[in-house]
């Protein structure tokens, strides 16, 4: 299946610092249509498009927009641009190469749900993205597309850029609110959901960058045009961040339903003609897929059936020479370091998981270890407050089902041994 350039139509083509360049490539067409036809039309197109959130939870975007539009009082729009999932760089490319698309989509969101305040929470390390977004906002304000009379609608909508400070947990939407409010970056209990009580307690629409960038496409092409790509339940195209042992790592836009094997072919296949060992699909919060899964169509539904997830859209490829358990160890260490520490299953579970994976990675596994990992994984998945803890065991447990091509005892092991001994918070 061929590569599509719909979300990436302007990336690398148009000058990302020029509103004129954006407009010359169909920029702001969607906002014009949205203001001509009104919020009811936007909501119905969005619902009919079947667009699902691209931040990892796959929530129907139209339903979320409608919930905020129907909420009372002051409402807010937040773009979650705290892209921190390992191996994920799709939102970064969108923000750096097509910042006006984010701004246009947020303007549509604000005018549709009745919000006057928009906020983009950008990962702290994404300096260029933040700069480009600010430039785009400035230009849009000068052109009357944002401000007291946004796009000539007589209604106000403004966007500000907020830079995170480097915590993975702050990409969790309610921890993100706490971070903006000056509180400790800890997730809140749900319910209430952000659509009911979000940023500063107001009903809040939170969307991922890629989700938002799909909105102008939906409104330009219409719901049926949008559905030209993808499957019945996974509509449109998807950005996949392919990294690791492939010939051409990078960002690939393909229709949902493209198989894992086809995606890897686009990236030039496993590099140096080597054999595929595994793919970590969905990021650290995703799962490993073995080489027997190359025919798996990459859709929300097929991945869920296979026990996996679309997650963040990261596809990390490991060839036959990779030490699988060293990679798993990095994943376990990542969660141990990034857990906020609020709830017990995640705070202690990620620590115990790291210790046990450290044993497996250095060939010192104990007979009870697989059972321990299963129990810890079940408790984290079932009883953690937020998505971090609920997904922290997915990659580890899926790795147990694979056949490592490099025996653990041969692994470089130093990091593994230190991790197993490790002190809390110690970077190993």
């Amino acid at each position: 299946m061929p590569e599509i350039r719909r979300l990436l139509a302007r990336a690398g083509v148009a000058d990302p610092e020029s509103l004129e360049a954006y407009r010359s490539l169909r920029g702001y067409e969607a906002l014009t249509r949205a203001t001509e036809r009104g919020p009811a039309w936007v909501l119905s197109e969005l619902e009919a498009s079947g667009l699902l959130g691209r931040g990892g939870a796959a929530f129907p975007a139209g339903r979320k927009w409608r919930a905020v539009a129907e909420a009372g009082g002051r409402r807010r729009v937040v773009c979650n641009a705290d892209e921190s999932e390992p191996g994920t760089f799709k939102d970064r490319v969108l923000m750096e190469e097509d910042p006006f698309a984010v701004v246009e989509a947020m303007t549509i969101a604000g005018l549709t749900v009745g919000a006057e305040d928009g906020l983009i929470y950008v990962r702290g390390e994404y300096r260029l993205a933040a700069t480009r977004l600010r430039q785009a906002i400035d230009q849009a304000e000068r052109a009357g597309l944002l401000g007291a009379d946004a796009a000539g609608t007589g209604r106000a909508f403004r966007i500000r850029v907020f830079r995170g400070a480097g915590a993975y947990i702050c990409g969790e939407e309610t921890a993100l609110f706490n971070s903006v409010e000056g509180r400790r970056g800890e997730p809140r209990n749900k319910p209430p959901f952000p659509t009911q009580a979000g940023l500063f307690g107001d009903p809040t629409l939170v969307n991922n960058v890629e989700t938002l960038c799909n909105v102008p496409v939906v409104l330009r092409e219409g719901a049926s045009g949008f559905r030209r790509y993808g499957t019945e339940r996974s509509t449109g195209t998807k950005l996949w961040c392919v990294s690791g042992h492939v010939e051409r790592p990078g960002l690939y836009e393909v229709p949902f339903g493209t198989t894992l094997g086809e995606l890897l072919e686009l990236a030039g296949g496993v590099w140096r003609g080597r054999r595929l060992q595994a793919v970590l699909c969905g990021g650290a919060a995703g799962t490993f897929l073995g080489p027997d899964r190359l025919d798996l169509p990459l859709t929300f539904e097929d991945l869920r059936t296979a026990g996996g997830t679309v997650g963040s859209g990261a596809v990390i490829v490991l060839d036959e020479t990779a030490s699988l358990w060293d990679v798993v160890l990095r994943v376990a260490r990542f969660f141990q370091e990034e857990s906020c520490g609020q709830c017990v299953p995640c705070r202690v579970g990620t620590q115990r998981q790291l210790e046990i994976v450290g044993r497996l990675a250095s060939g010192r596994a104990r007979p009870e270890d697989p059972q321990l990992l299963a129990d810890i994984g079940a408790a984290m998945t079932d009883a953690s407050i937020c998505g971090l803890g609920q997904t922290a065991a997915g990659a580890v447990l899926s790795a147990l089902t694979l056949q490592p091509l490099v025996p653990p005892s041969n692994s470089r092991g130093k990091g593994a041994q230190r991790a197993a001994r490790g002190r809390p918070g110690e970077s190993v």
Partner: protein, 279 residues
């Protein structure tokens, strides 16, 4: 208003606005709790009280989730038991539980085996902080239930001397740059001590007596009185061992105090004895 819910297949009446835990307890059922306290806002962090609610993907903390009409709840499934057991094991494997009878009882009730993570499992390693005349802080016993933070802050004292700092397994209760209590904003009301479920916060007298092997609840009785210091009328429970006051608490259900006291009521009793056993 009364609403109907179903728990383990049994129809129950609950009041609107009640939490699942309150509904369970009123019906004579229960769930293990550690971070829950009747006079503090539920923070639902310990996750020991989780239950299954039909329609929810993950388990739900019963201490904070409010009942909804027609809610179908299960407290007795394998998923619930497994999550509770592992949560309790994880906690007990990471801290010193020697003065946490509640936690130990929950672990036993769920047949938990905290030792199964191995003798080399990393534990919370913190020195005893014995830096003032009134109470000690032993964070090697701390399960991060947030109760002290809440009692110090918006739920009682509005002093905000305590907060959580650090993250993950390295998260700790903090006074700010680990300042000794006398240099912190602490006003020594001891309301944090009163709500601590594990003895991580302990009055100095009790700590000294435990170290000397003299602390013996079986020789203690409680005398109820009213605090003599001012006109508020706080109810006091004087814990008396061998005719000496060794600790003061206030009942959590008392209208005036809700279990909270000030520094005088909680710690200002040593004048009763000519040679106080503290310092």
């Amino acid at each position: 208003m009364s609403i109907g819910i179903e728990v383990d297949g049994r129809a129950l009446e609950a009041d609107e606005g009640m939490t699942i835990l309150q509904a369970l307890r009123r019906a004579g059922m229960d769930a293990p709790t550690l971070c829950y306290h009747p006079n503090l806002t539920p923070v639902n962090v310990c996750r020991a009280c989780v239950v299954e609610v039909e329609g929810s993907r993950a388990l739900v903390p019963s201490c904070s989730r409010r009942v909804e009409p027609g809610m179908r709840i299960r407290t007795d499934t394998g998923r619930v038991r497994r999550a509770r057991k592992v949560v309790l094991e994880l906690l007990a494997s990471s801290v010193d539980t020697s003065t946490a009878p509640e936690l130990a009882a929950h672990v036993a009730a769920y047949q938990g085996d905290p030792a199964r993570f191995g003798s080399d499992a990393v534990r919370v390693d913190e020195p005893l902080r014995d830096d003032n005349d009134l109470y000690v802080r032993d964070y090697a016993k701390c399960i991060l239930c947030y109760k002290c933070v809440e009692a110090c802050g918006e739920d009682a004292q509005y002093t905000f001397a305590l907060a959580v700092a650090g993250r993950g397994f390295a998260a700790r209760i903090e006074t700010g740059a680990d300042a000794p209590l006398l240099e912190s904003r602490c006003v020594f009301c001891g309301n944090c001590v009163a709500v601590c479920p594990t003895g991580a916060l302990m009055p100095l007298i009790e700590h000294r007596m435990r170290q000397a092997g003299e602390w013996d609840p079986s020789r203690q009785h409680v005398a109820e009185t009213i605090c003599p210091y001012c006109g508020v009328g706080c109810a006091l429970e004087l814990h008396v061992q061998d005719n000496r006051i060794v600790k003061v608490t206030s009942p959590a259900d008392h209208d005036v105090t809700r279990g909270h006291l000030c520094v005088k009521g909680r710690f200002g009793f040593t004048y009763v004895h000519p040679d106080p056993p503290s310092r």
